[in-house]
């Protein structure tokens, strides 16, 4: 482990997917990020990252049911793989480790 460092945007996308718990498809992710982080993301940049993460095996996806709302197109729901969860956790531990290593006075001032 530790060979691959997640990019910041990749990390955010994976976290959002985790938050949405099985309801994570394109627009839902974009809106969630907009609401929580006030961050505007284009479909293009999101989809690129999603496909990349899927190719790496951090995410998996499956089609949902077709609805009339989206012009009859099915949604593709993303979820974390085991591997993806492990990576996320490792990333978090690295961060926490770094935070803990900061001497108290450096940030309290």
């Amino acid at each position: 482990m530790g060979k691959y460092q997640l990019g910041e945007f990749e990390e955010v996308v994976m976290l959002t997917v985790a938050i949405l718990q099985g309801d994570a498809y394109g627009i839902a992710i974009i809106e969630e990020m907009q609401n929580r982080l006030d961050r505007k993301v284009s479909i293009g940049s999101l989809q690129t990252v999603l496909r990349r993460l899927e190719k790496k095996g951090y995410l998996q996806s499956e089609f949902g049911e077709a609805t009339a709302v989206r012009g009859g197109k099915r949604k593709r729901f993303f979820s974390l793989t085991q591997h993806g969860q492990a990576i996320l956790r490792e990333t978090k531990e690295q961060r926490v480790g770094l935070w803990n290593a900061i001497p108290n006075y450096a940030l309290n001032k």
Partner: protein
């Protein structure tokens, strides 16, 4: 669901998205897009724009369709085509070399011509405001009002400043004419130079033109009337190789004035050398302010036509309207000149011709070639450009034809290949592609080799054409490569299309059986192409012959006096007006049989004035004038038709004149009555000038021009004043017996230089020979002739390469036929003749076509000359005979070889 609830995104964008998106992702991303769009519609946030932006942002490598399989297949095909092209080129080395050689010659010729034309047509582009600068031209008011000249009177600029607000700047340049100039540091001013290119410019000169400064301030340097600006080259000439611009600043340079005094100027700016592609070429500039006295006295004149007037128009000016507007200026401003100087009204002076002011764009001044010249630098020759363009295209056409011929000629050799390909399922289009690819590769390699050739040949060409073309800046320019690539693609496509279509049309069964459709059609077209090639090259050969003949003719034409052996001593005017002392010394030399003074020397007699006969109601005529002493005509040895020469013993002769025969025609006099008649200056002088003699016409200008009417004036004549009075010359007829060797001549020149030094060391010693000066008037024609020769040889070589290739091909085809003929008893001679006949017929046809074409163009060109060489038939005969011989020699190489071949070998094959 109602439409309202679920609006549809723009169809076109959606379709575009579906086209480029990876098929695996299309469905869900499209769903996302639609959902977003609907969201925006609901919120009313300009959904269409946002949608378009979203779609465009989806266009990224990770999401688009992968490059399809079809192209991968093509890649393999492409590779195979390349291999085939390479193998074929290697297998038929002879054809490959001929083909490439033809292409390289053709393309490099074309490239060089292209560079030349580009160089000629990109003059003056270095000025920052070049697109807004115009020169004011006007009619040639000293004679033919239909001609245009590049200079105007000083008052034109004043008038334009006053009456035409469309100009941001008006600036004038005046050539101060040849001056003797010396750096102040030199003792006795002995280190003096003759400067022709000293111009006086106005304070706003650098607001209009962007000549680059090394040192000095462009905006203030011309404010000081005694400042002088010199180019770097001039600086080195005056202050030595080691001098630097900062050292040279502030030094003093003295210019000798017409009255013999010296005027000091301070160097206040060093300019970079004037770019070669500038129509204004100078060595030093002084402010026009330095001549303020002269300007004050003469600035109102419209007839002191020594100024080039330039206007910088304001941005967005309608130049056509402006040009129309300024036509009102001459009738308003010129009358004081015509009335005060000529005592004529404006209409009388112009004779009803419009005094047009023409605005010529800076970019056209050099390349238009009209007006034909100006005193400040070079003028282009549009005729040469036309001729070179034509030759460049012709040579290129020749090499393309060559290429097509050689490619189709090889058809038989490749018919089996085409057959096999077709049997294996190749479509015709694929085969067409293959052959076009081959020709593109050929032309590409030809172009690369041609570039190398041009790189090596550019400096000899520069010498030949007197140009300074540098290939390097072109090689750094992407546009140059774009042009080259376009050229390769287009010419490869065109030259490859005929062989491609022809070869791909073979029927596989026939070609595999070995029935080769050499078809009448193919041969006819090939023959037709050979005829075109030879027509072009023979026509070029004939034209070249005539150009040479014309130049020889023109330089040997009888000009009315013996121009050989006349030595001319320059700068005599600087010794003052009275130079009898020098003359007496010159008379003492045994090497001279006659010595005479004149205020101008043929072929450069340019001054003239308006005269009229003293008879009542006489009309005004324009006569060239030349001031001479009593002995000058003796030096020239011109023939007197009537009357006598000036006689130094008759004091009254100084107000007498001599005319040439041509002048009588204009004055309306008969030869018998002329002597004793009088003329007077048309500008109102009362004094009559009595004619005492008439001489036969002789050329006092370039032989390109007809002999003009001339009046010869005594050098002490104080009634007629002319602009040329400042510079005078001594001309000496050499005694050929006294000067047998070049050594004698050199000694004489050294002695003359000493003689001048003892009289006045500041006067530069300069001399010329009159016959050489006449030669120089044909310099540009000679240059053109040499270049034409080279290109003609190129054209002929290409044509011969083509012919050689075809002959070789034919020899291969007819191996068996010739073998059988030989077995049946034909001799070698018979065989060679039978073989050559096929090609000589074509060359004969080409000759028939070429003669009238060449005749037409040569005649057109000869219109430029006053003295034309006759279009004699023998030239055509010689030229065509030469072409025939060359082509026979080309063919015979093949014909003799095939005729000599042992029939056993040629028949036992297979």
């Amino acid at each position: 669901m109602s439409h309202q609830n679920h609006p549809h995104p723009p169809k076109l964008l959606l379709r575009f998205f579906r086209w480029f998106c990876h098929p695996d992702y299309v469905e869900d991303i499209e769903g996302d897009l639609v959902e977003r769009y609907q969201g925006w519609v609901a919120q009313g946030q300009s959904p269409r724009w946002r949608f378009a932006r979203e779609v465009l942002r989806l266009f990224r490598p990770s999401l688009i369709k992968p490059i399809s399989n079809r192209e991968l297949n093509n890649y393999g095909m492409f590779q195979s085509m390349m291999t085939m092209a390479w193998r074929n080129a290697l297998r038929q080395k002879q054809f490959t070399i001929l083909n490439l050689l033809g292409l390289v010659i053709g393309i490099s010729t074309c490239l060089i011509i292209g560079l030349y034309i580009h160089d000629e047509s990109s003059f003056d582009t270095f000025h920052e405001k070049s697109d807004r600068i115009y020169r004011v031209n006007q009619p040639y008011i000293w004679g033919d009002w239909n001609k245009i000249m590049a200079t105007t009177g000083p008052n034109v600029a004043v008038a334009l400043r006053e009456d035409a607000s469309e100009f941001e700047q008006i600036t004038r340049i005046l050539s101060l004419g040849p001056h003797t100039v010396a750096p102040a540091s030199s003792a006795n001013r002995s280190n003096s130079f003759k400067e022709d290119r000293v111009y006086a410019v106005e304070e706003n000169f650098f607001d209009v033109f962007s000549f680059q400064f090394k040192t000095g301030n462009p905006s203030t340097v011309l404010a000081d009337p005694l400042s002088i600006l010199i180019t770097e080259m001039t600086m080195i000439r005056y202050f030595g190789k080691e001098s630097t611009p900062s050292e040279a600043m502030g030094k003093t340079i003295e210019i000798k004035q017409y009255d013999g005094s010296w005027k000091s100027f301070t160097v206040q700016a060093i300019l970079e050398n004037v770019p070669a592609r500038s129509h204004i070429q100078f060595d030093m500039l002084v402010p026009l302010k330095s001549e303020s006295e002269m300007m004050l006295a003469n600035g109102w004149k419209w007839i002191w036509t020594g100024f080039a007037t330039y206007g910088l128009v304001k941005e967005g000016t309608n130049v056509q309207a402006l040009e129309k507007h300024i036509q009102t200026i001459p009738p308003k401003w010129a009358p004081p000149t015509t009335e005060r100087i000529f005592n004529q009204s404006f209409e009388e002076f112009t004779g009803g011709h419009p005094w047009k002011l023409e605005l010529q764009p800076l970019g056209e001044i050099y390349s238009a070639g009209s007006p034909t010249g100006h005193p400040f630098g070079p003028t282009g020759k549009p005729l040469f450009i036309k001729i070179f363009t034509a030759i460049g295209l012709l040579v290129l056409a020749l090499s393309a034809i060559n290429f097509m011929n050689l490619s189709t000629a090889r058809a038989t050799n490749r018919s089996k290949e085409v057959g096999v390909r077709k049997v294996l399922g190749s479509r015709r289009l694929t085969i067409v592609k293959q052959f076009i690819l081959e020709s593109v590769i050929f032309i590409l390699s030809g172009t690369v080799l041609a570039l190398i050739a041009v790189f090596l040949l550019i400096s000899p060409f520069n010498d030949l054409a007197d140009k300074q073309i540098d290939l390097i800046p072109y090689l750094r320019n992407p546009a140059f490569y774009l042009v080259l690539v376009a050229f390769v693609m287009i010419s490869g496509g065109i030259a490859g299309s005929y062989p491609a279509l022809y070869l791909s049309s073979f029927k596989p069964i026939e070609s595999l059986k070995g029935i080769v459709k050499t078809g009448l059609n193919g041969r006819k077209i090939r023959n037709g192409l050979v005829i075109i090639q030879f027509t072009i090259s023979i026509a070029l050969i004939i034209a070249t012959f005539f150009v040479q003949k014309q130049l020889t003719y023109a330089s040997n034409v009888d000009i009315g006096f013996a121009k050989e052996n006349i030595l001319q001593l320059h700068n005599v005017g600087e010794l003052g007006f009275d130079t009898e002392a020098l003359k007496n010394k010159l008379d003492g030399y045994p090497e001279f049989t006659a010595v005479g003074k004149s205020f101008g020397v043929p072929p450069f007699v340019f001054s003239g004035d308006r005269y009229k006969s003293t008879e009542p109601e006489a009309s005004v005529v324009q006569l060239s004038n030349l001031r001479i002493d009593d002995d000058y005509l003796e030096v020239l040895n011109v023939e007197f038709l009537m009357g006598r020469n000036f006689d130094s013993n008759r004091k009254n002769d100084r107000h007498k004149v001599i005319l040439n025969r041509r002048a009588l025609a204009d004055l309306g006099w008969k030869l018998e009555d002329a002597v004793g008649n009088s003329v007077a200056l048309a500008s109102g002088g009362e004094e009559e000038l009595e004619v005492i003699g008439v001489v036969e016409n002789f050329n006092f200008n370039s032989l390109k021009e007809e002999i003009a009417p001339l009046i010869l004036i005594h050098h002490y004549n104080d009634i007629v004043w002319d602009y040329g009075a400042g510079s005078s010359y001594y001309s000496m007829r050499l005694n050929p017996e006294a000067i047998a060797t070049t050594e004698d001549l050199n000694q004489l020149l050294v002695a003359l230089a000493e003689e001048m030094k003892t009289i006045d060391p500041t006067v530069p010693f300069e001399y010329s020979f009159m016959d050489q000066e006449f030669e120089t008037t044909f310099q540009s024609e000679r240059k053109m002739a040499t270049i034409l020769n080279v290109f003609t040889v190129m054209a002929m070589i290409i044509a011969c390469l083509g012919l050689y290739g075809l002959a070789a091909f034919s020899a291969e085809q007819r191996t068996k036929e010739l073998g059988i003929r030989k077995v049946l008893g034909a001799s070698v001679v018979e065989l060679s003749l039978a073989f050559s006949k096929e090609f000589t017929r074509l060359v004969f046809l080409a000759i028939l076509l070429a003669c009238p074409i060449a005749w037409y163009f040569v005649q057109q060109w000869l219109q430029n000359f006053a003295y034309k060489t006759p279009l004699e038939g023998w030239v055509f005969l010689v030229a065509t005979a030469a072409a025939l011989l060359i082509s026979l020699a080309t063919i015979s190489f093949q014909s003799i070889r095939s005729a000599n071949r042992n029939p056993v070998e040629s028949l036992k094959d297979e």
